[in-house]
Amino acid sequence: MIKSNAASVEFRNVSKVYPGSRVAAVDNVSIHVEEGRLVTLLGPSGCGKTTTLRMIAGLEFVTSGQIIIGGKDVTTLPATERDVSMVFQSYALFPHMTVRENVEYGLKFSGFPKREIADRAMAGLTLVGLQDYGARLPSQLSGGQQQRVAVARALVLEPQVLLFDEPLSNLDAKLRRQVREDIRDIQTKLGLTVVYVTHDQEEALAVSDRIIVMNNAVVAQEGTPRELYDAPANTFVADFIGEANLLNCEITKIKAGIASVRLGPVKLDLPARGQAVGPARLAIRPNRINLVKGSTKNTLPATLSKVTYVGKHLECMAMTEAGPIFALCNDVDAAFKPGDKVGLDFPGRGPVLVAE
């Protein structure tokens, strides 16, 4: 049966500059992935997340800094000599080998006896539910099955760290949810250390223990999915993870970590999160805004400019003195229409102060 040799991964001040380029692809990044956790590297394309992943794999080498896997410095070791496996975006199944040969491939270089290679490969295929497909060629499998073969091939080596490079991007929407849950199940069952790269924030929120958001070659924020969604550190994270209205506001005073915030006529008491008195930025999720008819106390007066019915909710665009605000109204039967004067109510956990 397949065990886990999970180990932690640590980056110490790692930078990577590709030859011929003056801009760093990864700039002085320090991260720590605890063993047995699934950590996602999330960010827009070109943010350095794939480079980070490939440096863990040993497919790229750092320009400066150190990489430590399982307490051992592996900075200069090539991919072959690192105990790390990777599932590629294109799956990279060898087209000239059968499914079983693909899964056995890495085992052959690990010095196992023949008998054990076959057993382990079978165990791996069983784990992903493809025990009957060993004799097929990769081209005879569906996309989802190929994906599972790629996972099995990486898993049977019992690597210290398992890497996923955008594993769901070649699957159709329905299959994605299924596959990502399968990956998560296997990871928790075996207690694997997994580093997972994606640009899809929903996918990241769904599978991860922790998320590392990267932007412009640096780490923008690191935390649990809930921390990132409910308390984004800055406007980039707020905007990238989920949707957010970013508004200018004013902090009038700060007392015991609670800031008094003024947004037009509305007064809010929010955690200060390191912000100082003066102009500040406020992030508000569209689904954390209540629309009330007319204007009541401590609501932001607004005029609806657009109301779109999308089935499970209404999407409303409201013009306010703080700028246009996008809000969702879950009461699809509410009779809002463009031109209505409404008040926007911000419940306690809705708005969050963020750094620029």
């Binding site: 030859p19 794999a57 040993g58 497919l59 080498f61 200069t76 090539p78 991919a79 072959t80 690192r82 790390v84 496996s85 990777m86 590629f88 975006q89 294109s90 990279a92 060898f94 087209p95 000239h96 491939y105 890495g106 270089f109 690990s110 081209s139 790629a150 091939r153 990486a154 080596l157 890497l163």
Partner: protein
């Protein structure tokens, strides 16, 4: 390292008289006999003391036993040993010539040299490789290319081979161009030869009888380049833009230049238009004039080279013409351009890089062509034949040959460089990825008719040419006795029985079998070196990669005659003394045909997803295992194709090998040329016909096998086409 020590201690250091494949030395007083002793015993007996330091150097790395790989001492010692070993290796090789020290100052330093140098043998080869490997190991240990020993040593190996077998001979040839008749070096004598009127004379413009050979070659190459480009474009347009029925025929014709020995077209032209040719005689009878030798010289060469090289231009241009996205042309039409305007303003300009490329290829091919000028040239001398006569003629003037070779090399390198400069690396790329939807609009009607008739005429001529060859091989004496006979075949390929079994009686069998086995032997290394180079070029990044690529592709631009001359000059003397052996033929084939393998490899490797090798690496295979288990199997069709093409090219090559053949190792092509020179056309043609059929068979077999091996990847057709482009060179 063990290999190096074995080479040093066990194998004979010097090449033996009976060649590299004989093992008689094992019985001849080995290991103490002076001639066949390994370096170790030579040094111990005090014979060749200068070999001793290498043994010590090879032992030095043993002291590193047990040290970790990333210890800087480890890397530095290995690098030092490798460099010192290689320097000593070559210093002793080149420092000592046939008659003692090679350089005067050594004479003064060590006194007169008591011995002579011999060619290096297996022992030396292994020791050299060992030093190279140690150097690579050291460089890899310092972390170059990710510390990958396999990659570093491959790079080292290929650089070493290219330097030794392409650059070194050419440089030596350049050096020998400076040698005067009495053996001294003189730049002025070189300049005198270089600028002589025999090469650069312009009398013909002033009404004189003949121009310099350089102008002849240049003029011929320019015209041929232009005409073949035009014809190539015509055929490419027909093949892609019309629904002509002979599209299939056209594509089939592209295989012709690959399988036809280069002078065969020239022979056919003589049969048709020569003094006793069908057309000349017919014309003379019809109009009652005297038959003339008009075809010998420029007209004949033009016809022959145009016929021979148009398919190459076609292969280049068909990719380009197909690559012009139909949506561009459709867009032009929706913008109210009519068919003519679309063609002139959109289609043609988009094909411009391809046209330039086809022109330069035709130019280089014509410059380098040797076979046709040899049989058809008459008084119209060109550089390639002039080089040949300087070496084999009564004058035997190496320096003159070298000077001519330099001129030729200058022309082709300029063209090659222009091509690179102009087109960068995109020479053959067509639209990548998903093709545009849409159809190429049909050509203007007048244009269709025009190019159709040109193409039909050309096709007719080609068919006549090949039929003539086939028919003439059965004719008793062309133009004199038209009766049909099998005599030529019998004379060349007769088989008889004697007391030893089958007796290959025919006069051609000897050269035929030699050609077969030499072509077979050279095919494997050609394909391997080519693919290894392609792997390094496509998959690895290292300092100096651009120069590396340029170097490996350079031999494409070096005409065969130049290679031939430089090999004769460079490998006639120790340390590499292989003139007159089969080895020199094999080596010349390997390095002449290497670009074919490289192109084949690059073309098909670019279609392999890079993540395949990366996943193999992350699964614990090292780069060597990845190369063997993933890349080679996936490239199987390309390998097979490269094997067959290098085989076929070796079978049909003439320009380089004609300098390198010997009585013992004669090749088909040089045998045929010999027959032509003796006016034994019958045998020559019969032999050529047989060769064409053999190679048709080989190509056909390959198509069959490659077709079956197709494992459902895209782009096979593309890589095969690129191969053929390269194959024509």
């Amino acid at each position: 390292m063990a290999v190096g020590l074995a080479g040093f201690a066990l194998l004979p250091w010097y090449m033996l008289d009976d060649g590299l494949f004989s093992f008689e030395w094992l019985l001849n007083g080995y290991p103490f006999d002076k001639n066949s002793a390994p370096a170790l015993f030579l040094a111990l007996q005090g014979h060749k003391l200068w070999l001793a330091p290498m043994g010590l150097l090879l032992l030095l790395p043993l002291s590193l036993w047990g040290r970790p790989k990333n210890d800087p001492v480890f890397a530095n010692v290995l690098i030092a040993v490798g460099v010192a070993g290689l320097i000593w290796f070559f210093a002793q090789g080149f420092g000592i010539s046939l008659r003692g020290w090679n350089f005067g100052f050594l004479n003064e330093l060590f006194g007169k040299f008591p011995d002579r140098q011999f060619g290096m043998g297996w022992g030396a080869v292994f020791v050299g490789c060992a030093f190279l490997f140690l150097l690579a190991l050291g460089i890899a240990a310092r972390g170059a290319v990710g510390g990958d020993v396999f990659v570093v040593s491959s790079i080292g190996l290929i650089i070493g081979l290219v330097t030794l077998f392409i650059f070194m001979p050419v440089v030596k040839m350049l050096g020998s161009a400076l040698v005067t008749e009495d053996g001294g070096y003189s730049a002025s004598s070189f300049l005198g030869k270089f600028l002589s009127s025999r090469i650069w004379g312009l009398e013909c413009i002033m009404g004189g009888s003949r121009c310099g050979v350089a102008w002849n070659s240049l003029f011929l190459a320019l015209v041929v380049g232009f005409v073949t480009t035009l014809l190539g474009l015509v055929f490419a347009l027909i093949a892609t833009r019309t629904n002509a029925r002979f599209q299939k025929v056209l594509r089939a014709l592209t295989v012709l230049p690959v399988i036809t020995p280069p002078f065969v077209i020239g022979l056919a032209i003589i049969l048709l238009f020569g003094l006793s040719g069908v057309f000349t005689q017919g014309w003379a009878e019809l109009f009652d004039t005297q038959p003339t030798r008009w075809v010998y010289g420029l007209p004949g060469l033009l016809i022959a080279q145009t016929l021979a090289f148009t398919p190459i231009a076609f292969l280049v241009l068909i990719g380009v013409v197909e690559g012009v996205s139909p949506s561009m042309e459709e867009a032009a039409q929706t913008l109210r351009a009519n068919r003519w305007q679309t063609f002139w303003t959109v289609s043609l300009p988009l094909m411009r890089p391809g046209l330039a490329n086809a022109f330069l290829l035709g130019f280089i091919e014509s410059m380098a062509d040797f076979g046709n000028p040899l049989v058809l040239g008459g008084n119209f001398d060109v550089l390639s034949t002039e080089i040949f006569f300087a070496i084999v003629g009564a004058q035997y003037d190496q320096a003159q040959a070298a000077v001519l070779a330099i001129v030729l090399l200058l022309f082709t390198l300029t063209a090659f460089y222009a091509q690179r400069f102009w087109l960068g690396n995109k020479s053959y790329t067509t639209v990548a990825g998903k093709g545009d939807a849409g159809m190429h609009p049909p050509l203007p009607r007048a244009l269709t008719l025009g190019i159709g008739s040109i193409a039909a005429f050309w096709l007719l001529l080609t068919v006549i040419v090949y039929c003539t060859i086939f028919y003439a091989s059965f004719v008793k004496l062309w133009g004199v006795d038209a009766s049909l006979t099998l005599d030529h075949y019998v004379q060349a390929f007769a088989i008889g029985w004697n007391e030893f079994g089958i007796h290959w009686k025919g006069s051609a069998w000897d050269s035929f079998f030699t050609t077969l086995w030499i072509a077979l032997i050279s095919a494997l290394p050609t394909a391997l070196i080519g693919l290894l180079t392609a792997y390094l070029l496509v998959r690895q990044s290292f300092a100096g990669k651009a120069a590396f690529e340029f170097g490996t592709m350079l031999s494409f631009a070096i005409p065969g005659t130049v290679i031939g001359v430089s090999y004769v000059i460079a490998f006639n003397v120790p340390p590499i003394e292989i003139t007159g052996t089969a080895i020199i033929l094999i080596i010349s084939f390997i390095f002449r045909n290497m670009p074919v393998g490289v192109r084949a490899g690059v073309a098909s490797m670019s279609q392999l997803d890079r993540s395949l090798d990366e996943s193999s690496l992350t699964l614990g295979a090292n780069s060597f295992q990845t190369f063997i288990r993933i890349i080679l199997p996936l490239l199987r069709p390309a390998i097979l194709a490269a094997l067959v093409y290098s085989f076929v090219r070796a079978m049909t090559a003439i320009s380089a090998v004609i300098f390198l053949v010997s009585a013992r190792y004669d090749l088909s092509t040089s045998y045929i040329v010999g027959r032509v020179e003796n006016n034994e056309y019958g045998i020559a043609i019969a032999y050529s016909t047989a060769l064409i059929f053999v190679m048709l068979l080989v190509i056909g077999l390959m198509q069959l096998i490659v077709g079956r091996r197709d494992i459902g990847r895209r782009g096979q057709a593309g890589s095969a086409r690129q191969l053929q482009v390269a194959g024509g060179g």
